[in-house]
């Protein structure tokens, strides 16, 4: 494959009858997983049979990527949305990085996809002009065809594709003016909905191949423990069970001809564990460790002025958050078929290449001998950035010499997950005579996900924090620090990653400052945003004007400042991450000392909106997910074991608690920024700020309900 340069990133493969194929590179948004170079990782194919296909590895996990990406392409290509199909690319060394995460599906695709569509359009126009012997400027591309009005001629892209493929690829094709967009910004129906309402959508758990067995694994309940021995006598008596065996240091597999057989076999399997060094680990000790570490010197993430030299009224507070589990609705699973010199997998995954590489190592193959096919994902939220299901499935397949699906139960999902890291936050500020913060300090104490997984830190900074811990206010003196701790409990990237913790602490504290200054929480924030300023935070530039915009929009839609019915209270918060700005106004009443959430007004500025319906879905989803995180989500550890097991002791938000979520966005033609994660961080602080308004009690530890 021709390597691409950063700028001239389009290439073409011309073969007679193959049509027009343009390869291009989609960068990944999350810096921790970058570095794959510039091999094409997406293709646009226009073939003589009339098909327009995008081959792309962005996994569909509910974020609407299979609708949004074709919309972007169709706009520039001048094709109709229903002419385009998305082909899910599997892991391949022909591709650059294929990760789906970091709210990157659209924001990293926007420009390359537009350019690819525009380049193809220009090539098809040129092909038609040559064929007809007319100036290119007299031809028009629309609805998947080129027309020449002067001679009333028309040829479809399919008819022109072969000829277009012989032409040079323009390196800087003209892009459409946003005011001429016909498709981008419209509520085009999601392509995947009809199959999803008929039970026809095929998720990882649904995929099957002939002679496939099912496996459940018994894993050591203590973090880091190992198998000492096992007795398979009872398990093998269960009808349908065909194999029981140790497949790794810490797991024994039970294989059967049905899921139920595997579950029953595992239920009666006797394993003796070496519980290892973590058998006494507890949540209390973990929390205490975080608190103790807060006095250590941290790595500065952001510094302006000098907070040590500021006098004034000193305000201090500490906040803490627990481990949380992603709990997507589709439990973990992967289907694998290991044969002598190859292994094929069908995985609901956000990281096909990582699965490929980990599987290759685990079963002793070269990465090129491992093929990973990506299925639909029944929710991701970051959980499917791990490779564990894939490795297990490949190991079991190798052990039994045939195809197998490894399935996790809900209890497996809760107890053997990778968790949002717990954190402790020390906040302090000095208020001037008017009550405004002359200094603002935030020390975030947490184990690093990247460090635990062996990814390098950048000068002691977890790369994910760069995108997720900015404070978009004009502070004359500010210091944001990270103190790194360690934990043996597996950590993972969970929706909005560090932004949830950072926002809960800093946006609750801003409310405390407003309270100490006897000022309205909205006015207080707007004052700190009143100056148009670019705040540089690592590589990103945050604009106070855009944050002010989402905050004012939320306040206006929620009628902030207008009286509420008796017993109702509001809280407000705002935060920026993944390039986007978000604000929430949460309206509650208190019932039996618990908040009842009536209404959430959620606003975002995500730049150019591709599809308002999909955006609103993501906002509504993030708010509901954020409410669950704030109210109840807590994974605790006792004797080295995760305590929670199912939706009774780790209960998501249900309809009876779900408020009306009103989603609004700022109209913008800025390049699109992240959507899936940014609406989440303001939820918890806005809710806790509403609780303070109602009760004068400050929630400084999540979850709210314990």
């Amino acid at each position: 494959m021709t390597p691409l340069t950063r700028r001239g990133f389009l290439t073409t493969t011309a073969a007679a009858g193959a049509g027009l194929v343009i390869g291009f590179y989609l960068p990944h948004g999350s810096s921790s997983k970058n570095g794959a170079g510039f091999s094409p990782n997406a293709y646009l194919k226009i073939t003589p049979d009339g098909k327009i296909t995008i081959v792309v590895a962005r996994s569909e996990m509910g974020q609407g990527v299979r609708t949004a990406l074709p919309m972007i392409l169709a706009e520039e290509l001048e094709a109709d949305l229903n002419q385009i199909t998305v082909e899910q690319a599997g892991a391949s060394s022909l591709y650059g990085d294929q990760t789906t995460g970091g709210s990157a599906s659209v924001r990293t695709t926007w420009e390359p996809m537009r350019k690819a569509g525009a380049a193809a359009r220009e090539m098809l126009l040129s092909a038609a002009a040559l064929e007809w012997g007319v100036p290119k400027s007299s031809c028009k591309a629309e609805h998947g065809s080129v027309t020449h009005a002067g001679s009333n001629r028309k040829k479809s892209y399919a008819e022109l594709a072969d000829r277009a493929a012989t032409l040079p690829v323009p390196s800087a094709p003209p892009l459409k003016d946003p005011k001429d967009f016909k498709l981008i910004g419209t509520r085009a129906a999601r392509i995947d909905t009809p199959a999803k309402v008929q039970g026809a959508a095929e998720y990882g758990i649904d995929f099957r191949i002939p002679n496939m067995k099912y496996a459940m694994l018994s894993r050591c309940p203590v973090v880091g423990g190992k198998v000492t021995s096992f007795d398979d006598k009872d398990a093998k008596k269960v009808p349908g069970v065909s194999y029981v065996g140790k497949i790794s240091d810490s797991a024994v597999a039970v294989v059967a001809d049905s899921v139920w057989g595997a579950m029953e076999g595992r239920r009666v399997l006797n394993v003796t564990w070496d519980e290892g060094p973590n058998k006494d680990l507890s949540t209390a000790a973990i929390k205490e460790g975080l608190k103790q570490a807060a006095s250590k010197k941290g790595v500065a993430l952001y510094a302006v002025g000098d907070v040590s030299k500021v006098g004034g009224k000193k305000i201090e507070a500490a906040y803490e958050l627990p481990f949380m589990a992603h709990a997507p609705m589709e439990p973990g699973n992967c289907t694998a078929h290991f044969q002598a010199n190859k292994c094929e997998l069908w995985a609901p995954t956000q990281v096909p290449q990582d699965v490929r590489d980990s599987v290759a190592t685990a079963v002793g193959l070269d990465p090129d001998q491992v093929k990973v096919n990506i299925t639909l994902l029944g929710g991701g939220f970051g959980r499917r950035l791990e490779h564990d299901y894939g490795v297990e499935a490949a190991l079991v397949s190798k052990a039994i010499g045939g195809p197998v699906k490894v399935l996790w139960s809900r209890e497996d999902d809760m107890r053997f997950s990778t968790y949002r890291p717990p954190s402790y936050h020390k906040l302090s500020a000095a208020l001037d005579g008017q009550g405004w913060p002359a200094s603002f300090s935030h020390t975030m104490v947490t184990p690093s996900i990247s460090a635990q997984k062996g990814y390098p830190l950048d000068g002691g900074v977890d790369p994910d924090m760069k995108d997720e811990t900015a404070v978009v206010y004009s502070f004359p003196n500010a210091l944001i620090q990270f103190v790194q701790t360690e934990t043996p409990v597996p950590l993972g990237w969970m929706r909005s990653v560090y932004a949830l913790q950072a926002a809960f602490a800093s946006e609750s504290f801003i409310d405390e400052l407003a309270g100490a200054a006897h000022k309205d929480p909205l006015d207080y924030r707007l004052h700190l945003l009143s100056k148009d300023e670019d705040i540089k935070y690592f590589d990103a530039v945050w604009k106070t004007a855009r944050m002010r915009g989402v905050l004012q929009l939320a306040a206006e839609k929620a009628a902030w400042g207008k009286p509420l019915p008796g017993g109702r209270y509001r809280g407000i918060a705002c935060f920026g991450c993944f390039g986007s700005y978000a604000a929430n106004v949460v309206e509650i009443s208190m019932e039996n000392d618990k908040p009842r959430i009536h209404r959430v007004v959620a606003t975002v500025d995500v730049g150019q909106v591709i599809n308002p319906t999909i955006l609103e879905q993501q906002i509504q989803g993030a708010v509901i997910y954020g409410l669950a995180n704030a109210l109840r989500a807590q994974i605790t550890i006792d004797k080295g074991r995760v305590v929670q097991g199912n939706f009774d002791d780790y209960e998501p938000i249900r309809m009876s608690e779900a408020p009306a979520v009103e989603a609004y966005y700022v109209q913008s033609t800025e390049a699109p920024s992240g959507v899936g994660e940014p609406p989440l961080p303001p939820v918890a602080p806005a809710l806790c700020n509403a609780i303070f308004a109602a009760t004068k009690k400050r929630i400084r530890s999540l979850p709210i309900i314990t």
């Binding site: 008929q198 139920w260 639909l376 929710g379 509901i624 199912n646 938000i653 309809m655």
Partner: protein, 155 residues
């Protein structure tokens, strides 16, 4: 192993599995109908909702022996004659995101509407609160049910 008969989506089916096997796994693994989903295995989330004699049940917690000789309807059977009004409403309101829980949501809503074609807001909440959606589609589920209820006419 004795054969057990049941009617699935109108067809007589005979299966030879242990009678305590949950209906969910009979549908998925034995009868190869994967529209019914596994979410929790404990009757807590509703992803596995099907109809037995028209009533919504949790197939993950319903042993096969309990449905011997009974009529079972799954999501595949709901739309056998084209999309139902409820499914059309689900599409019109753009309810699904990941979509995994949605077949269970639709089966729960369909059973409710059969008994109560025009449910109030509270009645919708009381029934549908048993079904979990991690993508947070609750507003849209409510609107889809209301839309389907209106499409039925009457009242």
């Amino acid at each position: 192993m004795a054969e057990i008969s049941l009617r699935v989506n109108g067809s007589e089916r005979k299966v030879s599995v242990a009678p305590e096997t949950p209906l969910l796994w009979v549908l998925r693994d034995t009868l190869n109908m994967t529209g019914t989903k596994f979410g929790c295995g404990a009757g807590l989330c509703g992803a596995c909702t099907v109809h037995v004699e028209g009533a919504a049940v949790r197939s993950c917690s319903t042993p096969l022996s309990q449905v011997a000789g009974k009529n079972v309807t799954t999501i595949e059977g709901l739309s056998v004659n084209g999309l139902t009004e409820l499914q059309k409403a689900w599409i019109a309101e753009e309810v699904p995101q990941c979509g995994y829980c949605q077949t269970g949501q639709i089966m729960a809503a369909a059973a409710m509407l059969t008994k109560n074609p025009h449910p109030s807001d509270d009645e919708i909440t009381r029934t549908m609160t048993a079904n979990i959606c991690r993508c947070g589609s609750y507003d849209r589920i409510r609107r889809a049910i209301q839309r389907a209820s209106i499409a039925r006419g009457g009242q």
